[in-house]
Symmetry: C2
């Protein structure tokens, strides 16, 4: 794990480390995670069981993700649309594997009216019971498949590439903010092609976009690979997944693309008249990434002082703190405002923190929220036309004083360097904690010793009858079979 | 009503008019509306009762609305967030007026699991019945009010300005695409202020943004005014509304802002410690506009040949049709591609329609979809470095041939002129069809004669006991009391 800012400082001075987040990652990773979410003010639990409120600082990250990725999807030819939130229950009966897979734990709408319960409260009205219940969508293959069957007539209508940015709902029993909530947000792409080649190319292409987005914007890398049959999306022929490694060594599935073959085309009658004038089944795909990724961002990048926000999706890239005395407050604030305006004019996302609070409190707020660059300006800096900045990813060791112009000219390259450093860190962590193993005994020994990370084995290990017991004992799952190894290796890990 | 393109042409030639949409507005306005939605491919009904599928061409309009208006809200200081889709039923019991107003007809979630019904189908599982049902939000005053009570402590936390882009659900018995559907999309702003002045200023400011947005982007005007007490939002002190006039003379409420006073602050305990160190109730507001507005766009701008899309939110501003022969197809298409690329580089939303279809079919498709400028290029134009364009708002009479460079340089001003012409048309229609009346007898006479439009009377007419009967007979409602008249006048009309 990256050492937190304070720990680095204090260790130099031989003191016992103190951190902004309690407990630390080493003390209690799960509780540390919750405390980081709280300290960053990204989200909180709500009165609705299992559902979260995503607060402005958290939602801004998701908006930024949408902005970037949506453009890429449109450039690729995808069109956005909107399909109903509620799906008729009978649609789920039609694809048995699909409903067994995950559609059963869901929110079921059974009535369409409330009435007084005669005791000052309300109750669902008996005479407003629906003939057929509806399910709040856990995913939309069924209702979009039904629409595709109407929209696709001829090969000229293909490929049909659709996407929606929406929430879905899965009734989770144990929930954790961002990582596992009943309601979460995602984009879901649903596409129809003439043949297997079109569908498979689509799955690979979009997985490439995810990989590009995660590395270039979210500053993390992972493993791209094909899911084992047991872990394949219910109803799919093949699932490609991006598996990222959290700082506790567990895997987080950050995005998936599914080659659905003709499964949903058969169920929902998605056919087209081909160039040969005969009727054919479409090959369909679906793919998604979700607000779970924000949980992953935290578990990959944050340290014991709070979040470290990847610069390209950070809601605030630069925060400016005026450090004022009674006799120079106005002048320093105006000086800071000018710096902020100049940076904004250059396209940076800047916040001037002129709240009526103590400077150390503002400083720690910026640290906990993970703002990539913190600028401090006091009277002395102002008089010299200078500012002092600190990089969140490095901490006090990066403290630098520059002329204001020098800083505004260098800001982009500093942010780029922060991005590169963060990405490199996650890559190193991933590689340092991915261990090649030869057999099931090696796997058992690895996790028995309390080690963290992924183990990588030949795929033939999946056929070893001893594997299941060890996987069960250590709560392991096969994550994917990385492309880089032509599918001959399989990654096994604990997972979120 | 504006005469449709074909009608203008044919009348000149003395023929019986033929139109791209059947029936015409005069023949059957309601059915004409449905046929325009169908012809433009903006939306369709879904297997979910009362819910629509918004297709790519319709969703693109909503995305454009979001893009523009979201930026304005952020500039004003509003922060986006996301609150749960499902609201505990008991929250609605807490604000009696609110629940009586509209929260009873809603989708009620009562179970969290499906199980096999033993007959190949599914049913809600009895052992997964929720202790407290949830309601799919019909609006979010309650759940956001509850959050505000936690988030607001001191006057330093005010104003708190929140917004979410979301869908809401109200179980409508009679639905029409965009205008009245069970699920619809909107943005909902929820805000807390120290005092009445702050809340009222907010309501007026945001109503000003709506007015600006409708006139500057959607090319329509209406009447801004205060709702009568009967028409005020349930739980609000005061509602400001923007009422637009459709081509059949009916009103469509296009946006509202609500001064909620301390009603929700009392119910949800939204209090703050003031500058006087005493505890005070917040004054809250809420405001919204929704995808209903897209229905309004159609009913205000479309004609008997289909939609006329306001240029600034048109998904496609310019469509280019190559008119090819066997011997020049490739050259003409390349020439058109270059024009399209040049226009795209200048920031226009351009579509090159090179589908394998007959040119007249493409032409009529562009007319029905209401693309503001249609460009046609054949071999002769190509050889002369020219193109021919037609404005959708005027039709064939606007047919002009220009050098390609001249067109690309003028495109922006042509689009602006289309916008201005459309806006002026809706203003003229509104003014021509707003009639001042002196008493209830005048109102009765007006609607009895089958006239269309709004009537405007002194507000004192609301106290005339004869009014109610006439309003009931002609399905009239008081729309609002326009600000321009200092609230001394009231507008009465049929409404959507």
């Amino acid at each position: 794990m990256n050492k937190p800012v304070k720990q680095q400082q204090n260790q130099k001075q031989g003191k016992k480390p103190r951190t902004a987040i309690t407990p630390t990652r080493e003390e209690d990773f799960a509780e540390w995670y919750q405390q980081v979410v709280k300290a960053t003010d990204m989200a909180e639990t709500s009165p609705t069981r299992g559902c979260m409120i995503i607060k402005p600082y958290g939602w801004a990250i998701w908006e930024k993700c949408q902005e970037v990725f949506d453009k890429w999807l449109k450039d690729y030819g995808v069109q956005n649309a909107s399909f109903p939130l509620l799906i008729p229950m009978s649609f789920f009966s039609r694809e048995a594997e699909h409903v067994d897979g995950f559609a059963k734990e869901c929110a079921v709408v059974t009535h369409h009216r409330l009435e007084s319960d005669g005791k000052g409260g309300l109750q669902p009205a008996e005479n407003a019971k629906l003939e057929e219940p509806y399910v709040v969508r856990p995913t939309s293959e069924t209702i979009i498949g039904d629409a595709m069957s109407r929209w696709v007539q001829s090969y000229r209508d293909l490929p049909l590439q659709l996407n929606q940015w929406a929430q879905v709902m899965r009734w989770e029993m144990r929930t954790r903010l961002f990582l596992r909530t009943a309601e979460f947000f995602w984009h879901e792409g649903h596409n129809a092609f003439e043949d297997h080649e079109g569908a498979d190319n689509d799955c690979r292409h979009v997985m490439g976009l995810y990989e590009k987005f995660f590395t270039e914007y979210l500053a993390f890398d992972g493993f791209v690979g094909v899911k084992t049959p047991e872990e394949t999306f219910p109803g799919a022929n093949k699932t490609y997944a991006f598996e990222a490694m959290m700082q506790d060594g567990k895997a987080l599935q950050a995005a998936t693309t599914h080659d659905l073959g003709t499964t949903f085309a058969k169920t929902f009658n998605i056919t087209y008249q081909g160039r040969d004038e005969k009727e054919h089944l479409c090959h369909t795909t679906s793919w998604a990434f979700s607000t779970r990724t924000i949980g992953g961002l935290i578990m990959m990048h944050a340290d014991d002082d709070g979040m470290i926000m990847p610069p390209r999706i950070a809601p605030q890239q630069i925060i400016i703190l005026p450090v004022t005395k009674d006799d120079n407050a106005q002048a320093v604030e105006e000086f800071c405002e000018k710096i902020a305006d100049d940076l904004k004019a250059k396209g940076f996302r800047v916040k001037l923190d002129n709240r009526d609070m103590r400077t150390p409190d503002k400083m720690w707020d910026a640290v906990k929220k993970g703002v990539p660059i913190r600028v401090e300006v006091g009277g002395r800096e102002m008089e010299a036309g200078q500012l002092t900045y600190v990089r969140r990813d490095i901490g006090r060791d990066s403290k630098t004083t520059l002329k204001v112009d020098e800083f505004t000219n260098q800001a982009e390259s500093i942010l780029d360097d922060i991005h590169d450093t963060m990405l490199e860190r996650t890559r190193k962590f991933r590689d340092d904690n991915t261990h090649d193993v030869a057999n099931v005994a090696d796997i058992e020994a690895f996790y028995k010793a309390g080690k963290i990370g992924f183990v990588r084995a030949d795929v033939s290990i999946l056929e070893d009858s001893a594997l299941e017991k060890v996987m069960g004992e250590y709560a392991l799952t096969a994550r994917n079979m990385p492309n880089a190894d032509n599918g001959e290796k399989v990654l096994i890990a604990k997972a979120y």
